[in-house]
C-alpha cells in the first residue's frame, strides 16, 4: 500500500503523517509513505485544502488533521 501525504510541509502535514503511520502500524499494514509537496500535483488529486491523504492513488481525506483512530477507520476497509 502506498500512502501519500499531500501538503506543502506545514505542521498539519507532519501531524497527519504521524496519525497515518500510527494507524497503519496498528492495522499491521505494510505501507510505503510518500510526501507530495508540489502544488500542481496536490491540486491534481482534487485537493484544495491541505493536508490531504491519498491511498493507492485515490484521495481519502482532505482539509483536516484526523486522529489515528479516524485514519484507521478509513484504512481498514481498504486492506481487505
Amino acid at each position: 500500500m502506498i500512502i501519500k501525504i499531500l501538503g506543502p510541509g506545514c505542521a498539519n502535514c507532519a501531524n497527519l503523517e504521524k496519525a497515518a503511520r500510527e494507524a497503519a502500524t496498528g492495522l499491521g499494514i505494510d505501507a510505503t509513505f510518500e510526501k507530495v509537496t508540489d502544488y500542481a500535483a496536490i491540486v491534481g488529486y482534487g485537493v484544495m485544502r491541505t493536508p490531504a491523504l491519498v491511498v493507492d492513488e485515490s484521495l481519502v481525506l482532505s482539509g483536516r488533521v484526523p486522529t489515528a483512530a479516524q485514519v484507521r477507520n478509513i484504512l481498514a476497509p481498504l486492506v481487505a
Binding site: P8, C10, N12, Y39, A40, I42, V43, G44, Y45, G46, V47, M48, R49, T50, A52, S58, L59, V60, L61, S62, G63, R64, T67, A69
Partner: protein, 351 residues
C-alpha cells in the same frame, strides 16, 4: 488519547449538557473578569488606579482574559457553523458565475468558508483551473483573511456592534471592488502558466461530508486549541504593547502625530500596516489602546485591515502561482481600497 477525544460526549444528552455547562462557565468568567482584576490590582497589589503602573498592569491582565474568552467562544461557534461549508462547495457555487455577481458571492463566501491562508495556493489553483474567473478568485482571497472570525470577535467585544458592522461591510466592499478591478485589468498573463495547465484529477472529497454533531463540536474544540496555540505570542506582545501605551504614552503623543489633524495619518497607518505581520488578535489590543488615546476609528481600522489583509508570508506563498507584477497589483489595489475606507470612516464617524 487527546483532550478532545476524552471530552467527547457519549450520548446526545451529555453533549448538550456539556455545552450548556461550558456556556455558563464562560458567562460567569466574563462577568467576574473586571471586578476580580479591580480587586487584585488595586486592593491586593495596592496599585493606584490613576497611576501609570496601575492602569498598565490592570489593562494587561483584564484584557488578556477578556480577549481569551471572546476568542474561545467565537472561534468555537464559527468553526461549528463553518463545518457546514467547504472550499469545494464554495468553488461549485462560484463556477460559471459572471464577474460582478461572482465577485459579490466570492467575497461573501470568503467570510463563511473555512479557510486558512496556508491553503491559499492550492485553493487558488483549484479555483482558476476549474474556470472560476481570476478576479472572482481574488475577491475570495481578499475577503477570507480580511473579514475573519478573530477580528469580528475582538471588534465586537471592544467597540460594540457599530464599528464591527462597519468593518465587515467595508471589508466586503474592498474585496468585491478590488477583485472586480483585477478581473477587469485582464491580468491572466501574470499568473504562472502552470496554473492553467493543471488538470484537475481525482474525485473531489467534500471534507464536510458525513459529519455528525459530535464531529462538528470536536472540530470546534480542536480549532480553538490550534488557533490559540498559533496566536498566543502575538496576543501577548499586542496586549503588552497596548498596556505600555495605555499606561505610559503621553496623552497627546499619538494624536499630535496621527490624530484627526494629520491628513496623511491613514496613508501612514496603511504603509506601516502592510509589511507588519501579525493577526487580528495581536493588533486589536494596540488598536484599543490607541483608540483610548484619541486616534480616530477610520485610521485605526485601516491600520488593522492593512495588517490582516496583506502580509509578507502570504505574498511569498502566492509567489508560487502569481508573477511579481500581479502581487504588486494585488497589494496596490487592496491597499488603495483600505486607504479609501480609512478616510471615509474618519469623515463619517465623529471621533
Amino acid at each position: 488519547m487527546s483532550v478532545a477525544e476524552r471530552l467527547r460526549a457519549k450520548t446526545p444528552v451529555r453533549r448538550w449538557v456539556g455545552l450548556g455547562v461550558a456556556a455558563v462557565v464562560w458567562v460567569v468568567l466574563y462577568e467576574v473578569n473586571l471586578p476580580v482584576w479591580d480587586w487584585v490590582v488595586y486592593e491586593v497589589m495596592g496599585l493606584d488606579a490613576a497611576s501609570q503602573l496601575g492602569s498598565g498592569v490592570h489593562f494587561f491582565f483584564y484584557d488578556s482574559i477578556k480577549i481569551l474568552l471572546l476568542l474561545v467562544s467565537i472561534i468555537f461557534a464559527v468553526t461549528v457553523l463553518r463545518s457546514f461549508m467547504s472550499v469545494e462547495r464554495t468553488r461549485a457555487l462560484l463556477g460559471g458565475k459572471r464577474e460582478g455577481i461572482g465577485n459579490v458571492m466570492a467575497a461573501g463566501l470568503g467570510v463563511i468558508t473555512p479557510f486558512c491562508s496556508c491553503s491559499a495556493v492550492p485553493a487558488f489553483i483549484g479555483f482558476v483551473a476549474a474556470g472560476v474567473p481570476l478576479g472572482v478568485t481574488m475577491s475570495f482571497l481578499i475577503a477570507s483573511p480580511l473579514v475573519n472570525e478573530v477580528a469580528i470577535a475582538l471588534l465586537f467585544g471592544m467597540f460594540g456592534i457599530g464599528p464591527t458592522a462597519l468593518y465587515v461591510g467595508a471589508g466586503l466592499v474592498i474585496a468585491i471592488v478590488a477583485g472586480f478591478t483585477m478581473g477587469r485589468l485582464r491580468l491572466e498573463r501574470w499568473v504562472e502558466p502552470f496554473v492553467f495547465e493543471t488538470r484537475l484529477g481525482g474525485q473531489v472529497i467534500d471534507s464536510t461530508f458525513g459529519l455528525t454533531w459530535d464531529d462538528r463540536i470536536q472540530m470546534g474544540v480542536e480549532e480553538v486549541a490550534s488557533i490559540l496555540r498559533k496566536i498566543w505570542p502575538y496576543l501577548l506582545v499586542g496586549i503588552g504593547l497596548g498596556a505600555a501605551i495605555h499606561g505610559w504614552a503621553p496623552e497627546d503623543f499619538f494624536t499630535r502625530y496621527a490624530g484627526a489633524g494629520n491628513p496623511f495619518a491613514v496613508l501612514i497607518a496603511v504603509a506601516i500596516g502592510i509589511p507588519l505581520y501579525s493577526n487580528a488578535a495581536g493588533i486589536m489590543p494596540l488598536v484599543q489602546a490607541l483608540h483610548d488615546k484619541g486616534l480616530p476609528m477610520g485610521t485605526l481600522l485601516a491600520f488593522m485591515m492593512a495588517v490582516v489583509a496583506l502580509s509578507l508570508p502570504e505574498m511569498i506563498l502566492l509567489r508560487r502561482v502569481l508573477k511579481p507584477q500581479l502581487i504588486a497589483t494585488f497589494i496596490a489595489v487592496t491597499g488603495l481600497g483600505i486607504i479609501a475606507v480609512g478616510y471615509l470612516f474618519n469623515a463619517v464617524i465623529p471621533s
